[in-house]
């Protein structure tokens, strides 16, 4: 589609001209419309046409000119094809996968909150912001990560900008994740509090999910279609029944809970769900919520097409002056902060690439097979890579090794590697058999065999390898397939919570017992995190969402700014600075927005906006012995003040993180400009 014009199809431009014309017409109708109501259809048509046009022209421009995408380069899915985590997939099929994984509650809640300023400001930002910032960031991050074997944001920052910004970014991502979990849990708790219909429906999904789990496990294994159908019917029944339950005099009160009770239940649920097998409750519930989510979005779209409802809302309300009921603050910057990931999502690449696109090949029967195969050094085709690969292998078999010092020694001596069973003699039979000379004999030979080494391209290679257990190795040695999959798995298994820690101190999961006892612990932690954080939010007399959502928005947009900084640095390092405006433009806007918003949230004189002003207002009142409105006691007053200070510090932390990343970004750009050749660290296959 995107190449229709380039392929010389003479009328390839006609459909695009039509799309553009329809989009312009729809936007024109929205713009010229006067009055209280407008048909929602026009907004949908305008959005679809704008996005299609942007996809056809702007995205093609970025792909061809800015990035110079090379179709002959192999993606990680092709390079590491294992049928499990790395599977070459048709792009349309893949689109469905992405679609399901990105849509959560955030993009729905943000724009709804922002509607207090009228439909127009939010709509415009969602159109412009996606085309020039959100989609650009997603596209570039996907590109960057694909050329780096699907690494996560923190790891790439570490490789492209240095260790310090990498660690700063990882800590920032961790903080933002916690805020994210808290806010999303809070959304759930607030939505269900005092709402028996919703509570009943959500509770009903648990027995449905249990049945789905058992059905899919024992009755008809592997029939996803049937399981889904059962779940869907059950879910719809639960929703329909919920109305009667809520209306019933005896059942209604039984499903009516306060926010506090729900937050405690969430903790209990998190614990139970994490100790029982995942296939029983977690997995089927995940299917259910995915159906619900996709169903909601598709249903909304179809519904708007059929019903064509009139929006009962002015284009711009009087609340743009910052006195809004849901969130306080002026249109700039708080509209953009509130919509948050409705337009530009900072989160889509913080974790996702670390999980889905990355290879995490698995425990399961094939993990051992792979370990063995690699330990045999089957992949020694690459010049000099065999030696390093074997060094890595030594490392992954650390369960068998007495100590780190011994390992260090073992890697460097032939006797040592024989002892470890890594060394094979030239005449050995078997899959790892080599004939003739090997590139991974002791050092002098290796020096001869490795031309890069001989030419002094990697003067620090050995020292670095001795010091780091792998994180930086693949980037410093762009030879393909260098880091052992097991390492990626270790890193992956730690997830975002462990990312900030040094990779060296995390033990691998090779040992069987670790696999057993690690699982519930990790999940417990997740469950507790889910439940504990919203509790103060619910008990906060101010009702957490009002204070936490702006914080969430700021952190989210700051994460997007961090990602865009990385994209800019990478563009400079690729020597594509001519086109750096593609990322510099949205980056500057995001920085202006988030820094202003962060500053105002801390220091604004209006207690409705500034956390510190709010805190001082309450402490003044406390000093005078008064109790201010939402708080009912002195203890609650103190809690409000404490929460204000926590929020202000979080705000300051986010600002510090983003400023530090920008500082290091500028430094990286300056040093990249000094070089005449590209300095990116991509995996080798991509460099070839």
């Amino acid at each position: 589609m995107a190449t229709a014009a380039a392929n010389g199809r003479p009328f390839g431009w006609v459909p695009w001209a039509l799309v553009a014309a329809i989009g312009a017409a729809a936007l024109g109708i929205v713009a010229l419309h006067r009055g209280e109501t407008i048909n929602a259809l026009w907004l949908v048509v305008a959005a679809v046409c704008v996005y299609l046009t942007a996809y056809r022209f702007y995205a093609t421009f970025i792909a061809r000119k800015v990035l110079g995408i090379d179709p002959s380069r192999r993606t990680p899915a092709v390079r590491h094809n294992d049928g499990l985590d790395y599977v070459p997939t048709h792009r349309n099929v893949l689109f469905g996968h992405h679609f399901a994984a990105i849509a959560g509650a955030g993009p729905l809640v943000g724009p709804v909150l922002a509607a207090q300023m009228g439909y127009l400001p939010g709509t415009l930002w969602i159109l412009v912001g996606v085309v020039f910032a959100g989609a650009v960031q997603d596209f570039l991050m996907l590109f960057i990560s694909t050329r780096r074997d699907g690494r996560s944001l923190g790891e790439i920052i570490r490789a492209e900008m240095g260790n310090v910004p990498g660690v700063i970014a990882m800590i920032g991502i961790l903080m933002i994740m916690i805020i994210l979990l808290a806010v999303l849990a809070l959304v759930v708790v607030k939505a269900l509090a005092e709402s028996p219909w919703g509570t009943f429906t959500v509770f009903a999904t648990m027995p449905i999910a249990l049945f789905m789990g058992l059905y899919g496990r024992y009755i008809r294994p592997g029939r996803i279609g049937e399981v889904s159908l059962i779940g869907l019917v059950g879910l719809l029944l639960a929703i329909i029944l919920g109305e009667d339950v809520a209306a019933s005099a005896s059942w209604g009160p039984a499903f009516t809970f306060s926010g506090e009770e729900l937050a405690l239940m969430l903790i209990g649920y998190g614990f139970v769900a994490s100790v029982i097998p995942v296939w029983l409750l977690l997995a089927p519930r995940d299917y259910l919520s995915t159906f619900l989510k996709i169903g909601t979005i598709v249903g909304l779209a179809i519904g708007i097409l059929i019903v064509r409802p009139e929006l009962q809302m002015p284009a711009v309300t009087r609340f743009i002056d910052g006195s809004g009921p849901v969130f306080a603050g002026n249109l700039f910057p708080f509209l953009f902060i509130t919509i948050a990931c409705g337009a530009v999502s900072g989160f889509s690449f913080a974790r996702r690439l670390g999980n889905d696109a990355q290879d995490d090949r698995e425990r399961g029967p094939f993990a051992d097979d792979r370990l063995r195969r690699d330990a045999d050094g089957k992949l020694r085709r690459d010049h000099g890579a065999g030696r390093r690969k074997r060094a890595r292998s030594c490392h992954l078999l650390r369960a068998e090794q007495p100590s780190r010092a011994d390992r260090h020694h073992d890697q460097r001596s032939r006797a040592g590697s024989v002892r470890l069973g890594l060394h094979r003699h030239a005449g050995d039979a078997g899959p790892g058999r080599l004939t003739g000379r090997r590139s991974d004999d002791p050092v002098p030979h290796r020096r001869r065999a490795d031309p890069r080494r001989r030419h002094g391209q990697y003067p620090f290679e050995r020292r670095r390898r001795a010091r780091h257990d792998g994180l930086l190795v693949p980037f410093r040695h762009p030879v393909r397939g260098l880091v052992h999959p097991h390492h990626r798995r270790c890193r992956h298994a730690r997830g975002a919570v462990h990312d900030p820690g040094s990779p060296r101190h995390v033990r691998g999961a090779v040992e069987g017992h670790q696999k057993l006892d690690r699982q519930p612990r990790g999940n417990c932690a997740r469950g507790r995190r889910l439940g504990l954080v919203p509790l103060p939010g619910v008990t906060d007399p101010l009702g957490g969402i009002n204070t936490l959502w702006p914080l969430f928005g700021i952190s989210n947009q700051m994460l997007a700014a961090i990602a865009l900084t990385l994209c800019t640095v990478v563009l400079f390092r690729m020597k594509r600075e001519r086109y750096a405006w593609v990322t510099l433009l949205p980056l500057s806007w995001l920085l202006i927005c988030t820094l202003t918003a962060g500053w105002q949230k801390m220091f604004h004189a209006d207690p409705k906006i500034g956390f510190l002003a709010h805190a001082s207002k309450y402490s003044d009142a406390l000093a005078r012995g008064e109790i201010l409105a939402p708080a009912k006691s002195v203890a609650q007053m103190r809690q409000v003040i404490f929460n204000d200070y926590v929020n202000a510090s979080l705000c300051a932390l986010f600002i510090a993180v983003v400023l530090a990343i920008v500082f290091y970004g500028i430094r990286s750009v300056v040093s990249a400009r000094r070089s005449d050749v590209p300095t990116t660290r991509e995996v080798a296959d991509a460099l070839a």
């Binding site: 094809n81 049928g83 499990l84 599977v87 997939t89 048709h90 099929v93 893949l94 469905g96 996968h97 399901a100 994984a101 990105i102 959560g104 509650a105 955030g106 993009p107 994210l180 999303l184 496990r217 294994p221 592997g222 996803i224 279609g225 889904s228 995942v278 296939w279 977690l282 997995a283 995940d286 299917y287 995915t290 159906f291 996709i294 948050a340 990931c341 999502s345 900072g346 989160f347 889509s348 913080a350 974790r351 996702r352 999980n355 995490d360 425990r363 399961g364 029967p365 097979d369 298994a493 730690r494 997830g495 975002a496 696999k515 690690r518 699982q519 990790g522 999940n523 997740r526 989210n556």
Partner: protein, 64 residues
């Protein structure tokens, strides 16, 4: 025949949308690249993938 392909693709998309990877692709890959080595059955494959996705170090992560 063509319709069957379209349907198969649609089913694959739907499965990926709920996070269930494609068994056919896996089996084809194992047969082509690792002849003679064991191939997980469909049920085994699903168990393995479920454990992988939701188990320790879990694979699910949603933005916002």
């Amino acid at each position: 025949m063509r319709w069957r392909d379209v349907l198969a693709q649609a089913a694959r998309t739907a499965r990926l949308m709920v996070g269930v990877p494609d068994y056919e692709a896996y089996a084809a890959h194992r047969r082509a690249e690792h002849p003679g080595e064991p191939v997980m059955s469909r049920a085994e494959f699903l168990r393995d993938r479920t454990e992988r996705r939701f188990g320790a170090g879990g694979g699910i992560s949603r933005c916002c």
